[in-house]
Amino acid sequence: MSEKKINIPMLGTFLGVIAAIAAGLLSGVQAMTAPQIEANKKAAISLAMDQVLPAYDNDPSTEFQTFTCGRGWDVTFYAARKDGKIVGYAGKVDNTDDGFSGTVSLMVGLLPDGTVGSIGSGDVANSAVIVTAQTETPGLGTALTDRKQQKTIVDLIQGSEAVTGLVPNKYLDWYAGRKAGDNVWGIVKDGDAINGKTGATITSRAVCEAVYAVSRTAVDNLETLSKGAE
């Protein structure tokens, strides 16, 4: 077998050309998809806000303030107004770090005094808490975070209507009407009040602490919040 001479500059140039073509193509695709991706993100946020806030007539996504809570997480509050008066805040926390496998992102609807809101009334009141993003264990951790309606084969056959509004979740609905005080909320396993899920202690704690952080940050910054939004 004869040793062929390796022409390194030629090989380098070839690879360079291929990479340049690839880069050109990618920048084209990115330019094409960027507006849509941005719109999707906005739509996801405003959908979440619609679910946790009472009726409002402003555009909360343009009226927000961000605070850092005691745990070092950034909590963003969007002010919802009706006829110019604040009817509630949507508190969003995205960078919690204590889920079972990473971040648990929440959107919490708050009353103007920092109390966790409730949606609906009477026996069917749901708390205005939804988990917007999580990577918890399916079937375990997700039991605490999902507000997904479980469709069954019976629904398909009978053609039942989908539930409108929030789907109840007994783990999330505990927070309805609660306001963060000086005592940090905790789960039963740690000797506190909230029912966690067996086998998903870490997720239970993460959700509980994130909701507390949102409510607590709102209570601590109530004055700034109502002022800044005016």
């Binding site: 999707n40 997904k148 084969i153």
Partner: protein, 224 residues
């Protein structure tokens, strides 16, 4: 080999997941539900199709020494395109579930394996058929695995509960150890079927080989 045979080999005889055992990372990682398996399978099929077409059309001008880096660049480009397209147009729940696995298609052995072992030696037409067959085989294997895991885990299929009375979530099948166990059962079943078929024909069953005599990825084998 006829076009039909070229296509169907990916479905059964050389199924990338169940026979060649390629791409185990996405296979075990995303198949916690049938929907996720379907999404991952289709995404991989698109990447495979794109990379096979490009690799086979430039197979005669790529210098042999740098072909692997060139293939990786091509594959990575297609994966990034799919990633962006899914972010923009796929349902948010699907993208959230698959998000971290999409970039990993770059290092999915199915894609590089087909580029190196097939597309770099065959024409564009044949490579398209190969990509479709392999992609479909990959998708079917993932959907089957995801479907079984989802059904055993929560009694549902494609997020629709088939047994309304099923209340308790059974963890094992949807977790990683369950994925290994169920994949193992799949492989055992597949081998049992193949061996029985071979026996009926009076032959010894031999799986499609991926040893050094048929593969040229590392140049260890002799020049053919």
């Amino acid at each position: 080999m006829s076009a039909m045979k070229e296509f169907t080999k990916g479905l059964w005889k050389e199924n990338p997941v169940l026979v060649l055992l390629l791409g185990m990372c996405p296979t075990l990682g995303v198949t916690s539900s049938a929907t996720n398996g379907l999404g991952m399978g289709i995404a991989t099929m698109f990447v495979l199709l794109g990379s096979n077409v490009v690799v086979s059309s430039i197979r005669n001008i790529v210098p042999k020494k740098i072909r692997i880096p060139v293939y990786i660049v091509i594959i990575a480009t297609f994966v990034t395109m799919i990633d962006l397209a899914m972010q923009a147009y796929a349902p948010a729940s699907l993208y959230n579930a698959l998000g971290i696995f999409i970039p990993l298609i770059v290092v999915n052995c199915v894609v590089l394996g087909r580029a190196e072992a097939f597309a770099s030696k065959n024409g564009v037409g044949k490579s398209i058929i190969d990509a479709l067959g392999m992609g479909l085989g990959f998708t079917l294997a993932l959907v089957a695995l995801g479907g079984v895991r989802e059904f055993l885990g929560s009694g549902s299929l494609f997020q629709i509960k088939l047994i309304p009375a099923w209340q308790i979530d059974f963890m094992l099948p949807t977790s990683a150890p369950g994925a290994f166990i169920i994949l193992g059962l799949f492989l055992a079943g597949m081998n049992a079927l193949n061996i029985r078929k071979a026996r009926k024909e009076g032959k010894n069953y031999k799986a499609a080989s991926m040893d050094c005599s048929t593969c040229n990825i590392c140049d260890v084998g002799e020049e053919k």
